[in-house]
């Protein structure tokens, strides 16, 4: 049995429209227009235990809605969802004890008390055995480097420390399935990196299944071998990051630095010129021809330096969105 399995999931909303401005307000008193918005429109995927999957797409693509359906916060319009063999929307307490949903800046910590007090409360709420609680707390606070601030009032902590403590509070019960919605949003680059390392370690340490959404391609590039790309409520791509390159970017980039000026026309025969700023030229050539073209370049032109690259992944994904997955 897969840890997460989603089949033909749909979630539609009715959206009421209001015209802007004062007259709009008056109008909305009398009648209201609405249209159906398809937040999630017929998506299916499966995730195995221990997988770390990145969920990417622009704002309003349906990422958060999907996460909410998976964690039991939203009742799907239609389709089957199963997480750890439970139907999430029944919100069985046994199910809830095995998952966690971390969304942006949550505040479940008690503001006027040290974080450790809030943790102790979560221990009771999630019925964590004392021994396990002690060892997990020790481990998480070491990993996140907050051991020495656990006894400090939360209101006196820095934003970063507070976020880390929130994360600990959410993970104390070592959820088997973890949903992370934009975990690094609003953090500085150093903190982002630290948090990423932590997520990776947590994933291997506890073999938990993690589904993560993010705006930052860095998060996804570094953490996830598999990505699901979603836009307008539909899945555009589901597979490994490496394959996305082969599928959507059937070309490589060859950059050469030349000793002498070479005319555009001469190079154009070998591939599409992406950048021409003497003495540097970048060509885009079909993947399978790249070696052949490189050899030709070396042979025919006064090459000082040559470099073959994969195209930039962010660019590819932008392409995917632009083409709508076709």
């Amino acid at each position: 049995m897969k840890t997460i399995s989603v089949r033909d999931l749909k979630k539609y909303y009715k959206i009421y429209e209001k015209e802007p401005g004062f007259l709009g307000s008056v109008k909305s008193l009398i009648y209201r227009n609405y249209h159906v918005s398809k937040a999630v429109d017929n998506i299916s995927f499966e995730i195995e235990e221990g997988e770390l999957v990145g969920f990417i797409g622009p704002n309003g693509a349906g990422k958060t809605t999907t996460l909410k359906c998976l964690s039991g916060l939203l009742y799907p319009t239609s389709g089957d969802v199963s997480v750890l063999n439970y139907k999430p929307f029944e919100r069985d307490h046994k199910f809830l004890r095995q998952i966690a949903l971390v969304m942006g800046q949550k505040n479940q910590l008690w503001w006027d008390l040290p974080a450790i007090e809030s943790f102790a409360l979560n221990k009771e709420i999630y019925q964590i055995p004392s021994k396990k609680y002690a060892s997990v707390l020790e481990e998480l606070s070491t990993l996140l480097e907050v051991k020495d601030v656990l006894q400090v009032q939360v209101r006196k902590l820095s934003l970063g420390q507070r976020m880390k403590c929130e994360l600990i509070a959410a993970l104390l019960h070592t959820p088997r399935v973890l949903f992370l919605d934009e975990p690094t949003i609003g953090l500085d680059v150093v903190m982002q990196k630290k948090l990423r390392d932590f997520i990776k370690e947590y994933n291997t340490e506890y073999n938990s299944t993690i589904l993560l959404t993010s705006h930052y391609m860095d998060d996804v590039k570094e953490l996830c071998r598999r990505v699901i790309i979603i836009d307008h409520g539909r899945i555009l791509y589901d597979g490994s990051l490496d394959e996305i390159v082969i599928k959507y970017a059937p070309y490589k980039l060859i950059t050469v630095i030349l000793h002498k000026k070479v005319e555009r026309a001469q190079l154009q025969k070998l591939g599409k010129i992406v950048d021409y700023s003497m003495p540097k030229v970048t060509l885009s050539v079909p993947r399978e021809e790249s070696n052949h073209v490189a050899a030709k370049l070396l042979e025919k032109f006064p090459v000082k330096d040559l470099n073959i690259e994969e195209p930039d992944i962010e660019g590819i994904i932008r392409d995917v969105f632009a083409k709508g997955g076709k």
Binding site: Y13, K14, I15, A39, T65, K68, S71, G72, L73, L74, Y75, F89, R91, H93, K94, L96, R97, I99, A100, L101, M103, K106, Q108, W110, W111, D112, L113, E117, S118, A120, L121, E124, I125, Y126, Q127, Q153
Partner: protein, 262 residues
């Protein structure tokens, strides 16, 4: 059940710790507790200054009503009010999700999270008023009488709780109406008047208020040894049925929330 008690014990501890940690807050809520209890007493003394008898209640009896009001509402504020305030804020800012993903009864999490210890002072002032008036009236009680009074009082609190839950649950649909809490605070004030006053007003709005008149008056009439069995049964029935009704309504609202929210 034992698990819930353990969690509540823990919450009592956390609330006390944060009360002590933040002194200004402590002073503010203490001041407001004392001030409102004092106001309820002053206002009733000023109001009844020219009237020895209103709606069948003598001046002393009405002051006793105020005493009981402070005990019952004091306990209610200590245990519940701030939780309802938190409830409507949570809904207003769309943070119900964090409640729903906890493996614990959502109603419990929303009703018992915060404790306003400073309201104890209000309860004490209420008890003092009652003792003073009852001594002046020369009434005597057995332990059983007191126990029965306490039972009635608890039913009154349960009724008040259910009414609040019912109304605040509406904010799940009308998220902007977080000020319904303020309306409820004001409606609590209705409980300190003779029930007859509201019953005889005879217009649409006063009917809405009738359940509130059952919260304080029947226990007080019990103290006056004037309670009719009808009032007592009425309170018990209202209290239990509203409790069940409000819980069902709350559950229904959550179902709505999870099928329509965005």
């Amino acid at each position: 059940m034992r698990r819930y008690l353990r969690i509540y014990k823990m919450l009592l501890h956390l609330n006390f710790a944060s009360l002590v940690a933040y002194r200004a807050n402590f002073v503010n809520s203490l001041i407001s507790s004392i001030a409102w209890a004092a106001f309820s007493l002053f206002s009733v003394i000023l109001l009844t200054g020219r009237t020895p008898n209103v709606y069948g209640w003598s001046r002393n009896e009405i002051i006793l009503l105020t005493g009981s009001y402070n005990i019952i509402v004091g306990i209610f504020h200590m245990v519940f009010s701030r939780n309802f305030q938190r409830f409507s804020t949570i809904v207003h800012y769309g943070r119900l999700d964090s409640i729903l993903t906890k493996p614990l009864d959502s109603q419990f999490l929303l009703s018992f999270w915060l404790v306003a210890y400073t309201s104890v002072i209000r309860v004490c002032m209420g008890i003092a008023i009652n003792i003073y008036i009852l001594t002046a009236m020369g009434l005597q009680y057995s332990v059983l009488d007191i126990m029965f009074f306490i039972l009635m009082m608890l039913l009154g609190i349960m009724l008040l709780y259910s009414l609040w839950l019912f109304v605040i649950t509406l904010t799940i649909w009308f998220t902007r109406l977080s000020n319904l809490v303020d309306l409820l605070y004001t409606m609590n004030g209705v409980t300190r008047y003779p029930p007859k006053m509201v019953n005889e007003a005879g217009n649409f709005f006063s009917y809405i208020l009738i359940p509130f008149t059952f919260v304080v008056a029947p226990p007080t009439r019990l103290l006056l040894q004037k309670a009719l069995s009808g009032e007592i049964i009425g309170l018990a029935v209202l209290s239990i049925s509203f409790f069940i009704l409000s819980r069902l309504f709350f559950r229904y609202a959550l179902k709505f929330y999870t099928s329509a929210s965005n």
